[in-house]
Symmetry: D4
Subunit: 249 residues, 8 copies
């Protein structure tokens, strides 16, 4: 921000820009009826447009924000969209796809697909699929190729070993696991890829809705593991995209 301010100051000094005009360029957001402020500059700052978090918003609010974003970007993503809201939204928003498993709503009008890299999405059990798919769909929307390795938990560890060769062809790994989440440590001991660990709320009793898996991952004895919030497939994919982009720059 500091050097942008410097540049604006210099342009004003040089008479290239009026003070008011310079200021308008910093502002960079659009207000929707007082309840939301669309951050249209985010794509400049983060490399990707704003993503809509659907929980706690009404279908009306989501629709207003989503359609506004569609006027600015060729890809728009909303996560945590319940089936009920999707049924309201899909007819209203043209060219939009709803995926029930991952609860995502995607508008994707990219002409060509430029790949930033390949992310491997691993999950421990079939029950972890919704979170793994949220990660996969987000990553794809953000320009990554996806390789899926599902149901390879450590209770049958040979299923993992059999896929190691494939797993090692990826740039980054997203490892999704609930219950005790031990898959992360085992994979972490075997590969050189940075691992983004996603604990899920799958389990019961002393899994405490994902806390057990979260703690496992934070305390992993294997190195090269960093962690996102419970069930946050989206966040892992976003981080994977930022990481992959380094490579391409």
């Amino acid at each position: 921000m500091s050097n942008e301010i410097k540049e604006w100051l210099k342009k004003v000094e040089a008479g290239e820009l009026r003070a008011e005009e310079a200021y308008e360029q910093i502002k960079g957001y659009e207000d929707i009826d007082g309840f939301a402020k669309i951050d249209v500059q985010r794509v400049k700052r983060k490399g990707f447009p704003e993503v809509i978090y659907g929980e706690g918003k009404t279908a009306e609010q989501i629709q207003a924000i989503f359609s506004r974003l569609m006027t600015h970007h060729e890809t728009v993503l909303a996560t945590r969209i319940s089936k009920e809201k999707a049924e309201q939204l899909v007819p209203q928003l043209v060219h939009v796809t709803y995926d029930e498993c991952s609860r995502t709503l995607l508008y994707d009008e990219r002409k060509s697909f430029r790949s930033y890299g390949k992310v491997g999405v691993l999950c421990a059990g079939t029950s972890d699929l919704p979170v793994a798919e949220e990660a996969a769909i987000t990553a794809q929307a953000m320009g990554l190729e996806i390789a899926r390795f599902y149901d390879i938990g450590v209770a049958g560890i040979h299923r993992l070993f059999d896929q190691l060769e494939q797993i090692r062809t990826c740039d980054v790994l997203i490892v999704v696991a609930g219950m005790e989440g031990a898959l992360v440590s085992v994979v972490g001991g075997l590969v050189q890829q940075p691992i983004l660990a996603v604990p899920t709320s799958i389990g019961y009793g002393a899994s405490f809705h994902g806390v057990a898996a979260l703690l496992t991952m934070l305390n992993s004895c294997a190195s090269g593991v960093s962690v996102v919030n419970i069930d946050n497939g989206f966040g892992a994919a976003y981080q994977a995209a930022l990481i992959s982009r380094i490579k391409k720059e």
Copy 2:
């Protein structure tokens, strides 16, 4: 208890025993100065004599209880004995050995060693040794052969695989691990032996003094795992001894 009472009632009925005598036999403990009641019947009920838990007791109290037990049994064990207390106790109690690593005090005058079975003691890292050794020394005192497999955590999983053949020769396994405790799930996926999992307080930050490892083990996706308290090497060994004894009966 019920059938013992029946038997006593019958003996009294048969005139073989007087009521007062029968009662004295049920009582089954010795009082030490009001502060402790030695459970001399425990060996009958549990198969092993009472073990002294050293924490929160003064050296004087431990000495009194220990020496009283020595008059009844050929093996007496005390756990959680600090080095300071041991320095006071060892000169007072003849034929007693103190092990600093496991903080145990052992009196062992068994003429011959009858093995109830073989227990494998596995630990993830060198820092887990004190707990692993508490388990090993307890198990030995209770009549088990010990096989040690130390520093085989999942960050270098081939160290475990290399020992699997040996591990599978044991009757029961005690798996000791701190941090995220993932070793338990990996071993649990590979062997048929019942696993007694011991979380340790090794770790920092979100390990919460062993809670992370405890939750991992309680939520293990591998079957055949049951868990004891954090740092409770003693408890795992005791359970291993009870399990092994089934086999020999």
Copy 3:
């Protein structure tokens, strides 16, 4: 695993097996539509076939996995099956029984029943029955004889004493209790059998959905107690089966 690898290497060296063939034998799982990998070797590693955990899986996924397992094994078990899913599944899977209390789905075509031992299932109160029955049905599926001792909580401790004689005839005990879970410590003080303690989520307020009972059991002053996850009747039964099998080997 290590000695298996050695053996494969040796067979290949000896020309008995081609490299590719050896490799195929290690793999040992079947993939179902990408969402699940059936671990067909588990029966070799653990002595029992894979068991399906029903929560978080759709009825369609359960059916696909269940019927695949039926082609490999004469006993197939699924736990945590809601009544709704059962109503969908039972008509599809022939020779399958659903038990509403324990929420288990069982396929059992064993010709003869070879008993590995006898497990006593104890529970504190009538409200703990669903967990106790999950344990009982699992244990039976795994080849154990069952003795049930229900509603013998410590508020009326003579109900326990009256059954002690019977309880002592078992090889292993599963003790199921909610609220404060004190039954475990009392039984643990009286018997020589290894105890697998199962806290239940029965209770309210400061029971914290089973945490109070879990902590009680982990801190039991009685020895010979190890613990499984809250409401995990299945896990206790599995461990009981592994323990009992030692005896028979």
Copy 4:
């Protein structure tokens, strides 16, 4: 308070008291150097004089408060007095006794002892003694006879049964236990006396400094149990005294 105010108002109305005088009588405390306000009316409201909680106070502050109370009452008690502070205080305060085990400081110049009732103090293990003794000494200072039943935990339950007859002669019971605290439920199932349960911080790992025992006691399946704070022997004794006094009124 309301009827006292009414009475003061009436006395003033009747001209028996001046408004200022009436007000002085309500105030009812003495200020010590701004840092403490001695509640000299507490004996009237609660039946016993104020007791000093020693933790977080300097020896100087304790001495000032203690000696002021000695001018008003024939019994003064301070709890949680470390050995270091006691060494400073005992020489300064004449006729005062320090008990190291319970960490209490007592001034007791009662001419005669009027008993309000008999309290039984039970504890599970020798390590619980300091808390049990804090209860016993407090109860005695408040006019109760004490019967001690120490080291009768449920791991050797016959030690409890042997004392039941004696225990049932008490008016109220204080049950002190650490670790899993199961003693409370067992006693609660067997007696008619109201039980004041005191969890102690004795234990390790998942005892969480007394939380496990606290939860056990709050969730006790036995009725007639109410609970005080962890290690709060004082509070249990105070409540026992209030309960016993009902009987005598």
Copy 5:
């Protein structure tokens, strides 16, 4: 128990009783279809018959237990009975009353009412009524007179002061409060009656379903307070009854 055993032994010795007969008298419970064991001796041990805890039991199970208890006692109480279950049960069990606010089911055929004492039931706010009423109805069933002091929380403390005179006429007080539960400390500072504190789950956010109130009560700076589980109006009333009975004995 011990002296009863002694007496049985003596009677058998004296030939007054046969061994089998003596044993039958100790047993003291009735089995219902394996799922429940009615503790018919509880009235002898605790002074009151067994009370049914309704949660987690089916209406069928409750009916079976309730009607069996009706054959033994003139008062039978069940708590935590949902409106749905009550609608099933009331038509089946004659002479039974259901109270929706307190969720209790009561059978009361006492010819005369012998009062053991008077309990004051105080509650902080109108939202705490269900718990307060569970206490009141239980206390009444157990032979106490009830005085209700509702909605006197400390936000308007004069409402409490106005009732103090009445409150001080009770033998025991039950103080019910949610949110921060400060009412307990204020009352505790003003009266000589033993206080049974009942935290309620009323509140939101950082009240954590009653934990905030529970901690307040356990840490009360006022003396003469002991605590029961969150929302446990029943438990407080039971303890109040035991305490009151001392007085009458």
Copy 6:
């Protein structure tokens, strides 16, 4: 209170008031059918009339309390009123408005609006609106002007900077945020206004229903921040009103 008592005493002494009359004036509440005590003096003590907390009360109870308060005050507010209860209440209580977003019920018959000051209500995201609006409507009912700054979370921090000038014209700020609640620290670093921080339960996984935001706010490295309960928009507004009133006095 003390000086009021003094004054009453003096008036009685002077014969201006009879003792009974003086007492009646202290009492200051009205009883509704035993279940509620309306605190009619609260407006004198706190400057605002009592506000009804709707949760845990039946519609009938709310209606009774609300209409009683309407006879005393020209503004009556009830919070946490569900849509269902509102549908019952609005037809019964004339001149009352229900706001669905904030779940408030307001009766406001003020002839003129005297402003005590201006409060800025900031919120991080659109999902925080219900809590922000509870604050705004409460503040308005209590005589504050409101400036709303919504959806200005730190993920797009320029949205905040753009509004800083406006924000700095307020007297007090209420900052509402869920998830990690970082907005509070950022605003706190930039302004001189006292900040009342309101964590919301918006978020998932390790947000633990608002605990993450609560902890953030309590630990804020910026000064001039104090915190209210999770989702407690009402409480923040009340405090803002008290603070603003100082200025006007």
Copy 7:
């Protein structure tokens, strides 16, 4: 910030300032050896200079920061300074005062004292003094008059009532309490002043180092209470100063 940027832009546009000069003025901090950046503009933004938090800093670091601040401001405050560090620092920093009870280090060279208002500091018990004094000394350094009301906890509530008249003369109240912290609710029910509640870590067992008091205060049924971190006397005083300043503006 936004309007400052506007102004800079305008000044540059007007040729009053060069771009570089304008930029230098925004920067506004001084770097000390890379380890600290003194925020010399804080006094402009917040009204008070930066305060040093002593914990986790070496005496050398504190000295460097403290003396640098002394060159800018006539009042410099450091909190959480241990006695050991103070002994190193006081000789180095002239005109500085160390207060052992509150652990503060103060440099105060104000020529005259301009009062922004009067803050009442209340505390429940003598053990809470260190936190209360941290508040008092901070408040004084920030230009407030202090009225102290110590040891007025609710166990002897008349001590509070006696001081109410005085308390009501303050502009803002800081209420400091440990254990169950009920004092806050009682004061909150009686006064119109905004209350800043400070939980302290005084207590034991289930006080959980101040968590019990923190929860009490967050859930207070009295309105007009906002809360700061446990033991954060400094933070409460800072907020009190910001609030008081509103009045004077």
Copy 8:
């Protein structure tokens, strides 16, 4: 692993290797006196040699492991080495450097430094330096260039803005913060670099030894943030190295 096994099998098949030789190559670790197993293949699997975690190991154990690693690698790192242990170790291990602030022990005999990328290490306050330096020294040992941005917490947010230009020149960012940890969200909203967030245990009261900062970071509303354990500077640096290496490949 799977393809390595395939290759070994093929080599054996081809007669290039004997079965025993192939097996020896898989083993890949060295045993030290039974207490440790040096993972000499880690550099092959992870790209970096094993790093020693010093806590819970004796100086003797560390020395043995450290010197063995020195025979294999030109860089050896040990973390969490206390000053006491360092004083024992440094004289024994030649060419080794101890850094007191970060508590690291480093042996670095690299001939040339090949940079994998540039990591920015940001920290909020001076008290966070030890963790930030652990990260910096680890990153340097793993081949990264370091840019330090210290003491730029959000209480003085312009300190951050002034450095943004520099920060944006890095490949990856490590953001270290204690207390409420809001710095992570602010930086995350402004940059495109992947952020590795490290909560520190700096703070008091409701910071719960770093839990508050950990939760803040897990719930960050800014995208592109993943988190490591509390105080785990090492882990963040390791992950940064893996990420940077992608770029160079």
